[in-house]
Amino acid sequence: MHEFSIALNILEIAESTALQHEAPGISEVEVEVGDAAGVNIEALEFAWESAAGASPLLKQSKLAIHRVPLLFECPRCRHQYSPAELDVICPACGEKDSLLVQGRELKVKSVTLMDP
């Protein structure tokens, strides 16, 4: 259920951008959600509907979610791989200490402002 507080954080960032630019509303909010960010996308979409619905600036906005797949890099052989689930074991050399170089993203990329 933390997706609701995630949705509200997104909302807050979008609203502050609209207010700063004196826009009458927002038509789209673009976010990046990594597969290891710990956010369930369906739950976030559901939370967004009620969160944005309560905001005069975001009532008609769309939440565009871009998933970012996992990407590990092996510190020994530099092999990069994208497993379906978190797995630090390098499929190329068997080293058990790969680093997650992509997949934790959780950020607002852009907002599209409505014309005044």
Binding site: A7, N9, E12, L19, A47, V88, K96, K109, T112
Partner: protein, 287 residues
């Protein structure tokens, strides 16, 4: 609407209280919102780290490039969704560091024995260290009362319908608790292996507790939590003869998601294995 949990009404209000004293609520609207009204549109980076609570206006903390388009302007934001919490967590961390405190965030699923681990840890260390506790639960002060019985100062945070503690709650609770320099603060998070993983509280170490009755596959099912932890306590080892559980397998799974995780096997009920865990704390906080 509550910023913490998204609740619509009062039942989600955050309450902070000490055992035996009436608590006070912190509904979202009552949070203190120090802020400036500086509408400065010039800088590309405009961070205002003094904001500890939700305020839906004013400042845009990241890059902000205008790209005029006919069908509305697309504004590049590039802002971490959790930046508000992360900033406040860093403030907490700075406060703890200035006071040379050791702060541990204890996380686990409900029923893994967090509170029992905490009780035994406190009872073992209380003669040699100044200890403080923040208890997080959705409802009741049951855990705080248990901790209070050990004689350790404790503050209970009830999150209402919220599923995790966040940095602002810790900020408020620490003000109530007023911990001493060189102390150890133990934060017992809400029993939940999902949500607390995302919320930095400003702790030095995150300690995840898993009990052998939960099965070996918890690390694979809830990888974010185990990935974000520094230490794993494998609790209830006294039940090993009665449970179909492989210690080898759970450690393999733990290290598959987090090769740097330090694991300790222990039983909070019998005290078996506790000396290694207690030594770990002593090494990190030698006053």
């Amino acid at each position: 609407m509550c910023d913490t949990c998204g609740c619509e009404s009062g039942d989600g209000r955050i309450t902070i209280m000490k055992p035996g004293q009436p608590g006070h609520t912190h509904p979202h609207e009552d949070h203190v919102h120090p802020h400036d009204h500086d509408h400065d549109h010039e800088p590309e980076y405009h961070h205002e780290p003094g904001h500890d609570q939700g305020h839906p206006h004013e400042h845009q903390p990241a890059q902000d490039h205008d790209h005029p388009r006919s069908a509305g302007r697309i504004i590049s934001v590039e802002t971490d969704v959790l930046q508000k919490n992360n900033l406040l967590a860093q403030r907490n961390r700075g406060y703890f560091e200035a006071k040379s405190m050791l702060v541990l965030n204890l996380v686990s699923s409900p029923g893994s024995g967090k509170t029992t681990v905490l009780e035994r840890t406190l009872n073992t260390l209380k003669k040699e260290k100044d200890l403080f506790v923040i208890e997080g639960d959705q409802q009741t002060t049951l855990d705080a009362s248990r901790i209070s019985a050990t004689g350790i100062p404790v503050v209970q945070i009830n999150t209402g319908s919220g599923c995790h503690l966040d940095a602002s709650m810790i900020n408020m609770a620490v003000k109530e608790l007023n911990p001493s320099d060189h102390s150890v603060l133990m934060i017992e998070n809400v029993g939940n292996l999902v949500c607390p993983a995302l919320f930095d509280l400003g702790e030095n170490f995150r300690v995840v507790i898993v009990s052998i009755t939960e099965g070996e596959d918890k690390p694979l099912k809830y990888p974010q939590m185990f990935m974000s932890a520094d230490v794993c306590l494998i609790n209830k080892t006294d039940l090993l003869p009665y449970v179909d559980f492989s210690m080898e397998k759970v450690k393999e799974y733990l290290h598959r998601v987090n090769p740097r995780l330090e694991c300790f096997e222990l039983s909070a009920r019998t005290g078996e294995g506790f000396d290694v865990w207690i030594d770990w704390i002593r090494k990190r906080q030698s006053t």
